[in-house]
């Protein structure tokens, strides 16, 4: 009993609980359909690559997970959200494919410049976008949502200009590999794992995480304590821009083309939702990166589940909304208090019975 209580009081308990709950829907559905109950979780190797719904969740959840890393830091340090990340993803696609294909070409099977230059320039562009956002927020004191609104609308348009209003295809195997498979593992999963590893190592072995949280909790006090608050906020936005670039890299290579209209469309909302589902306050301050990542994969789990259940596309946003509301409500303070009280009542009843 007491060990169960310990688990339920862990900070990550509720996000993980929600994710498992979403996946349980599939178990129930599979049993109702007469399939083996764990069909959803079965991972096999088919055609030489990993195969299964669980793999789909981790594969397709890559973009949201990478974005969630940057978004968590931005939310924590500046108590605001970066809504430009989806557009920056698309801008990465435009920049990278334009360079690789050569301006004006729409369909190439050879690189015009080496792959590394295309990716490098794309990521650099994304970092510059982050720098621009960060400068407006940290040094010009513009509200984050307003500051990032500029690139939210302009980023996609610049990508469009770079690609001459066309979808630019780069049909080169080494470019497709980034969105495909390395050996038997989907490359996006490896990229997400690398990003998560780097982020958690940096936060664990440097004081950056503490700096960010302290700036988020009280900007003025942190400055007086000797932190350069503005610089830390700027850094968070640059990291967020880089994350958007990396997510764009995965999304672009998946379809080996710069579909600037659709790459990263509405992804900023998924990233913000991931941070919230992870039990983080959007008011800044203390953050929990693992929570955000679980949140990101939970969102993908909902999407994959809806496809698996065969919910018609016209109705699925409604189902998604219902699930999200449930998860958010379960994690809210009043709900937590209610469960706590319920637990106490039970204990008291038990105590009374024993007496």
């Amino acid at each position: 009993m007491s060990s169960l209580k310990k688990i339920t009081q862990k900070r990550l308990f509720l996000p993980i609980f929600s994710m498992i709950l979403v996946m349980l829907i599939n178990v129930i559905y599979d049993m109702a359909c007469g399939n083996a109950p764990l069909t959803f979780f079965t991972v096999t190797i088919k055609n030489g690559v990993l195969y299964g719904r669980l793999i789909d969740i981790f594969n397709r959840g890559t973009e949201a997970a990478i974005l969630a890393i940057g978004m968590t830091l931005v939310v924590s340090s500046s108590a605001g959200t970066d809504i430009s990340v989806g557009s920056v993803m698309s801008l990465y696609g435009g920049m990278c494919c334009m360079l690789l294909a050569g301006y004006g070409n729409t369909n190439v099977s050879n690189y015009a410049v080496p792959l590394i230059i295309g990716i490098g320039a794309g990521l650099l562009t994304a970092c510059v976008c982050g720098l621009f956002n960060g400068f407006l927020v940290a040094y010009m004191n513009i509200q984050p949502m307003v500051a990032t609104l500029i690139l939210w609308s302009a980023g996609r348009a610049i990508g469009l200009l770079l690609c001459n209003s066309q979808i630019v295809y780069v049909r080169v195997p080494s470019f497709q590999k980034i969105g495909g498979y390395v050996g038997f593992i989907p490359t996006p999963i490896l990229i997400a794992a690398a990003c998560i590893l780097v982020a958690s190592l940096v936060l664990k072995f440097t004081a950056l995480g503490t700096y960010i949280q302290s700036v988020g909790i009280n900007k003025k006090a942190s400055r007086i304590a000797g932190f350069n608050s503005a610089k830390i906020i700027l850094l968070c936005y640059v990291i967020c821009g880089l994350c958007a670039g990396l997510a764009g890299m995965v999304a672009t290579s998946r379809i080996y083309s710069a579909d600037t209209n659709n790459i990263g469309l509405n992804m900023e909302l998924d990233a913000i939702l991931a941070v919230a589902l992870g039990g983080n306050s959007l008011g800044g301050g203390k953050f929990n990166l693992a929570g955000s990542l679980i949140g990101a994969y939970t969102i993908q789990a909902i999407d994959t589940t809806l496809l698996a259940l065969g919910v018609s596309t016209a109705q699925s946003p409604v189902f998604k909304a219902i699930v999200v509301i449930l998860i958010v409500v379960i994690q809210s303070e009043p709900a937590k208090d209610f469960f706590k009280k319920l637990g106490k009542k039970k204990e008291m009843a038990k105590g009374a019975a024993q007496a």
């Binding site: 055609n47 397709r60 083309s257 579909d259 209209n261 659709n262 790459i263 065969g310 018609s312 016209a314």
Partner: protein, 328 residues
């Protein structure tokens, strides 16, 4: 101070009117085109076509607004055309509903409106002409071709639809369903939207493969980009498709890349949706300009193309020459 501001303002106004005067001097017919976006290769071919036909050499000044698949942005674009007092407005509606107010505004301003490419849910008196293709007929063509090829054999069909609410998606779904109703041996296993994008097509196909592994033998994608995504998903799962494969792959649009895949035998059938529509629109505008009578609705004919080695009365067999001779 106030005087200064006023003088600056009036200067700007004079300059603006001069600019407007200059552009009117050339006697170009101004046409505004509210384009859907550039979500697919088909759409970019359509945009290109308008830019070529409504050129200055042909006596037109085209304001083309790419509405990025955003309904609100498109309404705004049309309103701008009205305030700019353009001579003609051409709209390729993103959504079929919700146009009444804007169309009324155009009518009040006395600007003729031509609806292009997609259909619209408004009374025919609200706009002047319609030019486009019939997605319903395209769906019927795909269905008839499949019936001819299967010749009574069983079909387990998976369909990847276009964007929810787009008339092309609705028409193709309904047209195909019409033919399906005549064939009790056909079964639609599942039908989900891939949003007319490659990524969407791939995600939906990945899920379909897991749900209906080994059960399906026909995949219908409602545009070429979705079909590319479906191909990638089937490649990864080791499922063969096309002329030599286990699965019959049907696509719509017939863009250059799509027809290349048809020629390579990877698509069994690609039903055309002709993006070369600007000439027809120009014809209507010329008639309006001359005060002649014009067609209220003009249907642009679509063809269908099937892979080499397939003969069909509903589709043309694809050859190198056909691909080379295509305008897009």
């Amino acid at each position: 101070m106030n005087k200064k501001v006023l003088s600056v303002l009036s200067c700007t106004a004079i300059a603006a009117s001069m600019v407007a005067g200059v552009s009117a001097e050339g006697d170009l017919i101004t046409v505004g085109y509210a384009q859907v976006g550039h979500e697919s290769d088909w759409r970019t071919a359509n945009t290109q076509n308008y830019e070529n036909v409504f050129s200055e050499e042909n006596g037109y000044e085209l304001s083309l607004i790419d509405c990025d698949n955003d309904n609100a942005k498109q309404l705004e674009a049309v309103r701008n055309f009205i305030t700019q007092e353009l001579d003609y407005i051409v709209i390729a509606p993103i959504q079929s509903a919700g146009w009444d107010t804007v169309l009324q505004e155009a009518q009040d301003a006395g600007i003729p409106v031509i609806i292009a490419d997609r259909e619209i849910e408004a009374d025919a008196s609200m706009y002047d002409a319609w030019v486009g293709t019939a997605p319903y007929d395209e769906g019927v063509t795909a269905g008839n071709w499949l019936a001819e090829q299967l010749n009574g054999a069983e079909a387990k069909i998976l369909q990847i639809e276009g964007s929810v609410g787009a008339s092309a998606a609705i028409g193709r779904t309904d047209g195909f369903a019409e033919v399906m109703a005549e064939h009790p041996e056909w079964e639609m296993l599942d039908s989900q939207s891939g949003d007319f994008t490659q990524d969407g097509g791939q995600a939906v196909m990945e899920s379909f493969i897991k749900s209906y592994e080994g059960q399906f033998n026909v995949v219908v994608c409602q545009n070429d980009n979705e079909a590319y995504g479906a191909m990638d998903a089937m490649d990864a799962a080791g499922i063969t498709y096309g002329v030599d494969g286990d699965v019959i792959l049907i696509s719509y649009d017939a863009t250059h890349d799509g027809l290349q895949y048809t020629l390579d035998g990877k698509f069994n059938l690609d039903v055309e949706c002709n993006p070369i529509q600007a000439e027809t629109v120009k014809g209507v505008i010329e008639k309006m300009e001359a005060g002649e009578e014009f067609e209220a609705t003009t249907l642009i004919t679509d063809e269908a193309f099937c892979a080499p080695g397939i003969e069909s009365e509903y589709a043309t067999t694809m050859t190198e020459e056909i691909l080379a001779g295509r305008a897009y």
